[in-house]
Amino acid sequence: MKRLLLASLFFIGLILIWHFIVVAEIWSPVLLPGPASVGSYLWAAATDGSLAEASWVTMKRLMIGYLIGCVIGLPLGMLTARSKTLNDTLGVLALGLQTLPSVCWVPLALLWFGQSESAMLFVVIMGTLWSVLIAVDNGVRNLPPIYTRAARTMGSNGFHTLRHVILPASMPYVISGMKQGWAFAWRSLMAAEIYVTLLTGYGLGHLLHFGRELNAMDQVIGIMLIIVLIGLLADKVLFSPWERFLHRRWGLNG
């Protein structure tokens, strides 16, 4: 309760300061629109439905791409961590591609898939896949060997060890890897949406870009707020339950 109050007070304070800076006209209103005008843009966009639609378009792209990336990346990461040959080939490739900002795929994606949803999906998958793969690989490698050793003397091996020891034991890493994958996917999708217009639907990135094109900074800041909100929400819904579980079961004070 007290913590919530403190946080709220802090943010209300921030907004008030922002408001007074704008009112005092220290900077031109073009450079920094006030909270009132941002609020009124958000209200208008919320009531005419364009905000909800753009959020939906963006979330759909993100979700599908992210899921595909995880579903491919998780098992591949396990494999590269366990097999030397795979690690020296696929692992090195993944390391390279992981350092490539996935927005760099945009030109090729547009060429290969046209200005379509598939191009966006491709970019999002490239953003997720490699980082999930690397994180899982890393997590499996960083396991205290005592766990697998103990399991092996109990007769566990092969797939059983993978499923019942390595996967749960690397959980803290896997979850943080999936979180990072999410962050990369989110970033690449925004960059891609800001960069290219799609025929199949306008996402939040497009609204942000349009805000810039029209010199409408209230729109830009409004959309930034929405993006922050969605990011926080996704964190709460997708990752917090897992982290709480780990906290309770493992005694990690996260």
Partner: protein, 304 residues
């Protein structure tokens, strides 16, 4: 930000686009490159040239105080003027009219305005002159146009992509400016549906601060611009070489003579500010939903 070192000439930061509709900018920039600076000799300043690809970047630069004067289209100018409540932008002179057209794809079967229902029309950039014109024109035909959809989908797509998508049949029509109109015609079999020769397409614009702080220089600048416009009209051969030289320097590709001639033929050079054209543009922008209330235009055109 370049600060004038004592003894050195004052610096004027000047912008333009590498487009045919910015003939004055291209020619003056080329002359500067060749050491025969047009504005330099007439204003007694040093010119720093900046090239932009789109109106918003140029107006942004004026907002950010990193640019003094630029050639730019009327729509971004009016938009920036309105968004800054009349405090940042000033129009000094006209530069070019016309040069923009609505091109349709033959296979799309568009013969009358009513045929646009359900079609996809591309414009170079959201809120730029052609985009506003397209949205207003379509609205005038009775279509419901929204930012992200409506009866006709208006899509802001970069010029280079437009050409490819037009070829592949992914878009049905394009409202754009030269040289892209000509390229659509020559390379993708586009048909011109509507040709616009009256509307201001390029203006000479400066920051309000520039006019306020250096009114004399502004006056000299306008005079030099008028002189340049007249000189360009009088020397088409030399101008063509200068344009080729400059476009090659800026975009790394030299336009073909045929393309250049055809495109230049559609652009009408002028130094007049057409007040009525500006008013129409304001109404169009309102119709397109980009301007919420009518800006007070009294400060837009300063008397020098």
């Amino acid at each position: 930000k370049p600060a004038a070192t004592p003894g050195a000439k004052p610096v004027l930061r000047f912008g333009h686009f590498p487009n045919i509709t910015h003939v004055q900018g291209l020619v003056a920039h080329a002359l500067s490159r060749q050491g025969k600076g047009w504005y330099e000799s007439r204003l007694g300043v040093e010119i720093q040239w900046y090239t932009y690809n789109a109106g918003p970047s140029a107006t942004e630069a004026i907002f950010a105080r990193s640019l003094d004067v630029t050639y730019v289209g009327p729509s971004p100018t009016l938009n920036a003027y309105a968004k800054s409540k009349g405090s940042e932008m000033r129009v000094l002179a006209g530069a070019a009219n016309g040069g923009s057209s609505l091109v349709v794809r033959p296979a799309a079967n568009i013969n009358s305005p009513a045929d646009f229902r359900g079609k996809k029309v591309a414009t170079p950039q959201l809120g730029n002159t052609q985009d506003v014109q397209a949205r207003a024109w379509l609205a005038n035909q009775g279509f419901n146009i929204t930012l992200t959809g409506g009866d006709v989908t208006v899509l802001p797509i970069q010029n280079a992509d437009q050409l490819a998508m037009f070829t592949k049949g992914e878009i049905d029509a394009v409202w754009t400016a030269e040289p892209w109109v000509t390229r659509l015609e020559l390379e993708a079999n586009g048909k011109i549906f509507l040709d616009d020769k009256e509307t201001n397409v390029t203006l000479l614009v400066s920051s309000a601060k520039f006019v306020k702080d250096q009114p004399d220089l502004a006056k000299k600048l306008v005079a030099a611009h008028k002189e340049l416009t007249a000189w360009i009209k009088a020397n088409p051969k030399e101008v063509r070489e200068l344009l080729k030289y400059e476009l090659k320097a800026e975009t790394n590709s030299e336009p073909k003579d045929a393309l250049l001639d055809k495109a230049l033929g559609r652009v009408v050079l002028t130094d007049e500010i057409s007040r009525s054209s500006l008013d129409t543009m304001v109404q169009s922008a309102q119709k397109a939903g980009f301007l919420k209330d009518i800006p007070d235009l009294t400060q837009l055109i300063p008397s020098l």
